[in-house]
């Protein structure tokens, strides 16, 4: 059963958030023509009469794009419509060569889904209103001016390479209870889409983009307030910041007896505030009507089942499995299971049979820190899953202490060596030889007669000091448990 705990906004108020997420698909060709979908190629090198909207050109639906969209829809547990319709969304802008975008309107590809995501220890479920297909606009480059926006620019250039890239729009219900949850939702949704292999979801390339709708209402109310739409949040952090800024603004308006105006707001990351877009940019009547150049899209049951059967394991399911199969706490499972690369790394390492929790700690700790610092994908670099597992095995067997293991790990990053060999070469093995340690203990006790005396007089905590002295004498390589035993034994003699 879903438990939604609303984050507490200014006291007595709670936010209600919904998201519209656009995902560019990584199909080989565009949505309605045979031009290649590419990134970073010279401008206007992937265009044709169709995506430049030359007179007489007609769109033809990319079947692979439908399959990819269906993959997203099914992963979001949506119902795929057996019959859906493309509409024309009409407006003039230089990045839209036909002056209409072929999109879907009242008969989308898929409806009524849900997406479960975790915020800390809490599992939230967001209902998905719809998943539909459309085409991306071209890319505008505004030259001159300071902001890079059209206002104040000297001239604008259009790169039609992106124009016509297949785009999937995911629209949620207003089920997201906090800015933090919105951020988590997006992060985990992005991970899921990546897992599906249908988009590179590169945020710098704009392959995943989003707008947020937000309203506030008195805690406990079930009615929705008037919402505003937030744009220009091109990182997860900005999304959270924008929502966090918008909540007190709306509450202040309402508490002052005012009304929220339904409008579109532009988030300015510099100031951290939201400002209304000029109404001229916003006042659209899109005059939707069914696209007469395309026949209705029919999707049969066999197609749906084929796509469904080919779905990979999704992060949410994997997180649950990690908890069950490896006995990991939820936090560990979320960290390790959310992205495919790290999950695969962990699972490969776990095949060695080392203690899963210990392995999880190492993977989430030193290993993930290394991956993040180096800016590489999990699995890349010298530290293979096998090597990390062998290091964990060394810890497990007491061959190295955990402090020693950290040193071994650091050396592994540089030396491309097996951990055992590093331990050997650098003399990092934990001293577990009882005879050798017993000699050292004897020596330390003889060097600290006063402390030995104190202990014997009943001051038990002195044992800790003596253990420390032994560890120091062994340069930290001694097995602490064994040292502890031997010190107490020696004091008892």
């Amino acid at each position: 059963m879903m438990v939604v705990q609303r984050a507490v906004a200014p006291s007595g108020w709670e936010p209600v958030i919904g998201l519209e997420v656009h995902v560019e698909l990584n199909t080989q060709t565009k949505m309605f023509c045979g031009c290649a979908v590419t990134y970073g190629d010279p401008p206007n090198t992937h265009t044709c009469p169709v995506c430049l909207a030359h007179p007489g050109a007609l769109p033809v639906v990319n079947e692979r794009a439908i399959e990819y969209a269906a993959r997203i829809a099914l992963a979001l547990e949506c119902t795929i419509a057996p019959f859906s319709i493309f509409h024309r969304k009409n407006y003039f802008y230089p990045d839209l060569p036909k002056a209409y975008q072929i999109s879907q309107y009242d008969a989308p590809l898929a409806v009524n889904g849900r997406f479960a995501y975790w915020v800390g220890e809490q599992k939230l479920v967001c209902r998905i209103n719809r998943v539909h297909m459309e085409e991306d606009a071209a890319k505008l480059i505004h030259a001159g001016g300071e902001t890079g926006r059209i206002a104040g620019s000297d001239y604008s250039m259009v790169d039609f390479n992106r124009g016509g890239t297949p785009l999937v729009e995911i629209v949620t219900e207003p089920d997201i209870p906090s800015p933090e949850a919105a951020r988590e939702f997006l992060t985990q949704l992005r991970g899921m889409v990546q897992e599906l292999g249908v988009s590179d979801v590169n945020m710098e390339e704009g392959q995943i983009r989003w707008d947020a709708n937000i309203s506030v209402r008195p805690v406990g109310s079930t009615q929705l307030g008037t919402r505003t739409e937030l744009k220009n949040m091109n990182s997860f952090r900005f999304l959270q910041q924008a929502l966090q800024a918008e909540i007190p603004r709306q509450v202040a308006v309402l508490e002052a007896g005012g009304c929220i105006e339904q409008e579109t707001l532009h988030f300015d990351p510099e100031t951290g505030t939201t400002t209304p877009l000029r109404s001229k940019e916003e006042a659209h009547d899109y005059r939707y009507f069914p696209e007469p150049d395309l026949v209705p899209l029919t999707v049969d049951e066999a197609f749906v089942e084929r796509v469904r059967a080919a779905l990979p394991e999704l992060p949410q399911a994997r997180i649950e499995r990690f908890m069950k199969a490896y006995g990991l706490p939820r936090y560990d499972a979320v960290v390790l299971g959310s992205t495919r690369a790290l999950a695969q790394f962990f699972e490969k390492a776990a095949q060695s049979g080392v203690d899963a929790k210990l392995l999880a700690n190492w993977t989430m700790g030193d290993y993930l820190a290394h991956v993040n610092a180096a800016g590489i994908e999990p699995g890349m670099g010298h530290v293979t899953p096998e090597r990390l597992a062998r290091l964990v095995r060394l810890v497990e067997t007491g061959t190295v202490s955990s402090a020693g293991a950290k040193k071994v790990f650091e050396l592994m990053l540089e030396e491309r060596e097996e951990p055992e060999r590093i331990v050997e070469e650098h003399g990092l093995a934990q001293v577990s030889d009882a005879d050798e340690l017993a000699n050292i203990v004897r020596r330390v006790l003889s060097e600290h007669p006063a402390q030995v005396e104190q202990y014997r007089a009943g001051k038990q905590q002195v044992a800790g000091f003596l253990v420390g002295q032994v560890m120091k004498a062994t340069h930290g390589r001694a097995n602490p448990q064994l040292v502890n035993e031997l010190v107490r034994k020696g004091l008892a003699e």
């Binding site: 030359h54 007609l58 036909k98 259009v158 939707y288 007469p292």
Partner: protein, 519 residues
């Protein structure tokens, strides 16, 4: 027969094809016949926006060098193309200022197919701007004159193609039909014109007016030619999602009898405004049908009166979106004195489009706008469904439906310019077939007041062969043999309505306008 014996006003494509195949004439000689005729009459008819004479001669010469099997099925046949089908490297203007200098980068599928058959393109024919009109008076450049009486219109929007065929300036031509734009000018110019079932001819490269209604179709001097030309342009096209494969190929019509065929005459099509002369020729043709063994019955298509208003919502609505791409950004006309983006759109479109195009774009945008959509576009689509149902019920009882193609013969240039509604009435009998996507053909059935009268045959979807067969039998029985006289009954010299940037342009073989590579 030698070249000297060829009368371009009478020569059919079938006959020309036979003569070429049998070596009686060469392709170059045949082209010369048409270029000479263009030289003789074009300055009076003004059917062409562009004559690609040099290309035509060069290409015909090449064809003459090709032997036997290497020659395409229509090798050397001189053809005119309505100027709303894109032709790579050859200007395609849609008779609009906004595309006055537009050089397409690809070729329409239907034209490409004909090029694959080695037809020879004579040039691009005049039309009402973006095919919006019934007279060619909406051309931004000039009005085409009807060869039967130069003071009258050739009909439209494919008026240039119809006039070119009627005037012997082309062996045959392609037109496009959105609400009667092939059949009505065919009727007014005394030639055969056919709109096939929606989807049978690819629309790829046909500059869209109303996507759910547009179809390319032939304008020819005989029913048999019509079948021949149609048979070469039909077929499913991967570039047009709405295209379909005909269930059976188009065959050469042979029928001379109509035994047992049931013909329905929708009385709504005869209700108002049919000129007496048109009615007489129509009734005579009905009697011929009975003489040929056909059964004629008056019947009803009850929703006919709503078809015209529904059409004038749906077509403008689609047009308002289809013509939105002409924004001055990527190609075509761009206003020189815009200060910002919005002005660039406004001035470009304000200066680039003619009055009728603007009227329809505005009607269409209004009909689709928030709050009005259901009352206009939604309602029109429901009417369309009812019109379709009328036809479906009719074709359960009748094999074919017949009517006059146009309620009137060719009207005088300028007569209806100030009255769009009376102009719209020209298409009363032709529009319902577009709304229902049905095939329909117009063939000449005689003269009234010295001007041709067209007889329309409408069939169920994919009944092209049935329609062509019946038309063939009727054509033989009617024996229409009158020829246009190029007389001019205007008291004063008729001025051009366009007066636009190309009003000084006159097409002739020596025409200076750019010619591209395609033949």
């Amino acid at each position: 027969m030698s070249v000297d014996g060829i009368d371009p006003l009478r020569l059919t494509a079938r006959a020309a094809k036979r003569m070429l195949v049998e070596g009686e004439i060469s392709a170059a000689e045949l082209i010369k016949v048409y270029l000479d005729q263009i030289e003789r009459v074009e300055n009076r008819v003004r059917a062409f926006l562009l004559v690609t004479a040099d290309n035509a001669v060069r290409y015909a010469t090449e064809i003459d060098r090709e032997a036997g099997a290497a020659r395409g099925a229509l090798a050397g046949l001189p053809t005119a193309i309505k100027d709303n089908m894109v032709t790579e490297g050859v200007l395609t203007t849609c008779a609009s200022k906004i595309l006055a200098n537009y050089q397409p980068v690809y070729t329409a599928t239907a034209v490409q197919k004909l090029w694959g058959d080695h037809i020879v393109t004579l040039g691009k024919t005049n039309l009402d701007e973006f095919a919006m009109g019934s007279s060619t008076e909406n051309s931004a450049f000039f009005t085409t004159h009807n060869p039967w009486d130069l003071a009258t219109v050739p009909g439209g929007s494919s008026g240039g193609s119809a006039a070119a065929v009627a005037a012997g300036e082309a062996l045959w031509a392609l037109g496009s039909d959105t609400g009667g734009s092939v059949r009505q000018p065919a009727s007014l110019c005394g030639v055969v014109g056919m709109k096939p079932t929606y989807g049978t001819v690819s629309r790829y490269g046909l500059v869209a007016f109303a996507s759910s209604l547009d179809q390319i179709g032939p304008l020819t001097r005989s029913v048999s030619d019509c079948a021949l030309l149609l048979s070469r342009i039909v077929g499913r096209d991967a570039h047009d999602s709405t295209s379909v494969q005909l269930p059976e190929p188009i065959v050469e019509p042979q029928a001379t009898r109509l035994d047992g065929l049931r013909f329905g005459v929708p009385h709504e099509y005869l209700a108002q405004g049919v000129q007496p002369g048109v009615r007489e020729r129509f009734d005579e043709t009905l009697r011929l049908i009975e003489e040929l063994g056909g059964i004629v019955e008056e019947m009803s298509l009850p929703h006919t009166e709503y078809a015209l208003p529904a059409y004038y919502i749906i077509a403008p609505a689609e047009a308002s979106a289809n013509l939105a791409r002409f924004d001055g950004v990527r190609y075509g006309y761009r206003s020189a004195h815009a200060g910002d983006l919005i002005e660039m759109y406004e001035y470009t479109r304000g200066e680039g489009f003619g009055a009728e195009v603007k009227r329809r774009v505005m009607i269409g945008a209004y009909a689709l706008s928030s709050g009005y959509y259901e009352a206009y576009y939604g309602q029109a689509q429901r009417v369309r469904t009812l019109v379709r149902r009328d036809f479906a019920e009719a074709f359960a009882r009748y094999d074919l439906l017949v009517s006059p193609t146009s309620p009137t013969v060719a009207f005088r240039i300028g007569e209806r310019v100030a009255d769009p509604l009376s102009m719209y009435m020209s298409d009363l009998c032709t529009i319902p077939a577009n709304l229902a996507g049905l095939p329909a053909l117009s063939l000449p059935c005689g003269l009234a007041d010295g001007l041709p009268v067209g007889f329309q045959i409408i069939g169920p979807a994919f009944s092209e062969n049935r329609i062509l067969g019946a038309a063939h039998a009727l054509e033989k029985a009617i024996g229409f043999s009158a020829l246009p006289t190029f007389k001019d009954t205007s008291a004063v010299a008729c001025g051009d309505t366009g007066g636009g940037m190309h009003s000084s342009h006159r097409a002739s073989p020596s025409d200076a306008r750019a010619e591209g590579e395609g033949a």
